[in-house]
Every structure is written in C-alpha cells, then in structure tokens.
Symmetry: C2
Subunit: 137 residues, 2 copies
DNA sequence: ATCGTTATTGCACCCAGTTGCAATTATACA
DNA sequence: TGTATAATTGCAACTGGGTGCAATAACGAT
C-alpha cells in the first residue's frame, strides 16, 4: 500500500509537500538522510519550510511508512516497503554493509524472558570496525 | 585510577573546570545528562562556557573515564568506574531498569563470525515497553 | 619565582532539528 | 460549485550541541 493511501486512511491530508516526499522515497532507493530529502524538496518546490519537512517525516514514521534511525551524527530515513535489515558502518573507513534483520532476535528474546521488556529492533545503524580496519592498530 | 590522574597521564592539564566535572562524576552516582552537568558546573562556577563543558566531556570520554550514550533526544554520560551495563527505558512510563552487560554478547559474536565486523556494545540505552505498559493497548 | 610553551578557555557564531502560533488550504458536505 | 472546519503550512524564534580563533592559564624547565 502506498504512503499516500496510508495518509488518507489515517485521516491525514494529501498536500503537495507530502506527495513530493513520498514520491522521493518511492523513486530513489530506501535510505535517505534528512539533508537529501530537504535538498530534493527544495529543488522541486523552493519555498517549502524545513519544519514542514521534518514534521512530515515524523508523520510518515508514525503511520509506519518510514523508519527513522539515528546514526550518531545524522538521521537516516528508511522506506519500510524495502524490507527490514540493519547496517554495519565502519567508524574508520565508512564502509556500509547490510546485515540480516534477525541479528537482534536473541537480544529481543532475552529482554522478553528475563526482563519482561518488549523491544523491536528495526533498522539499526551499528558502528564498529570492518575486517580491514580491525586489523590495523 | 582517578579521572584527574588519567588526565595527567595523557599530557592534559588539570584545570578548575575539569576538576569540577570530575568531582561531580565521583560524587553523584554514575548517570548524568549534559544538562545536569552544565547546571552543576554553572552553580559552582557561573562563568564557565558550555563549549568548555562539552569539550571536556568529550575528552573524558576519549581517555576512557566516561562513556557517552545517545538516547534519542538527549545524551547521557556514564562514569566508567561504576562498571558496565545497559539501560532499558520504557517509552510510555519512562521507567529505567539496569540490564546485564552481556546482553549483546551473542550479537557481537554473530557480527564477528559472520560479518568479520567488530563492535563493542557498551552502556546502550534501549527504548521499549516495560511489563505493565506492554499489557495495555 | 619567573618564563616559555602548549593546552585550554571564552567568545561568537554555526548547525540540525523542534515548537507555538497565526495564516492558509485540503477535504467533506450542502 | 461554494462553504465550513480541521489539518497543515510558513514563520520566527529557540534548543542542544559543536567549531575556529584569539586570549589566557597550567605546568615543566630554568
């Protein structure tokens, strides 16, 4: 189901600004930073205020169209239609590798069983050292 | 070994501002937000600039005296002498429970074995639903 | 105790993201 | 097609955190 339909289902209005953001997610892969989204929207519709964009990204997140993950310095938005997975980002060389979504299942299970605490790890960004960079001191 | 000694060992100077921050960590438990630290420093030494405080917190982190964890909206600093663990924070009621440090060991192992990726999960802040809040819809 | 070096501070300004509020606009309905 | 109304936008100002740079201060050597 498209993001725009989901908006309507939640009683939200379909504004040109929202259409622009949703189209961008559909057209250009799954991972977009706030910067990229703002740049794209401004290119197509120069007057749009950044707060409108941030507010709409939050709304798309709250209706489940988009996942927001924090990667230390910046924020990444991930179109949920692309499926779930995690990211391994090397803090030295910046290499970015996708990682199976079941990585955190044992953690989720432990938290559920031992702490009665419910967590759903979706689209985490994990910083560490890749094979090459891990060898060097 | 005290933070102040560690400073010297790393060729860093022992300024009154640093002494104030280090003392605060020693005196008042392990978990402090940037806000709390700034408030405390300002109380004791009103003129200190916030950038001085942030820079010193980064330095204490880089020499291993303090761990910095990001919890979505704010940043938490944790005095490393208190031992390692993680935090479960309920997104509904805000309840905060400590959690064993070995929680992420299986994840670290998988990343090492399958992805040759090295990560050290230290003092994570995990947002989810606690037992009570998980029951209610 | 003084001095020179080098780290550190304060300042002023930047940046991404957020918020309250008045003006605007998408939509349901007549 | 026009209108009422609630959602949305743009604005302006704010927030937490960070940065480059000149002035200052800690500290080892004399």
């Amino acid at each position: 189901m498209s993001c725009l339909e989901t908006l309507k289902e939640n009683g939200l209005k379909l504004t040109p600004q929202r259409r622009l953001i949703a189209d961008y997610f559909h057209d250009s892969g799954s991972h977009l930073t706030a910067e990229e989204i703002i740049a794209h929207v401004h290119e197509k519709m120069p007057g749009v205020n950044k707060s409108t964009i941030y507010r709409n990204l939050d709304i798309f997140e709250s209706i489940g169209c988009v996942l927001k993950s924090e990667s230390g310095n910046h924020v990444i938005y991930h179109h949920t239609e692309e499926g779930h997975h995690h990211h391994l980002v090397c803090i030295k060389c910046g290499k970015n590798v996708d990682c199976d979504e079941m990585l955190f299942w044992p953690v989720e299970k432990t938290l559920r069983d031992k702490y009665a605490f419910r967590v759903d790890f979706k689209h985490q960004v994990i910083n560490g050292l890749c094979e090459n960079c891990g060898k060097q001191p």
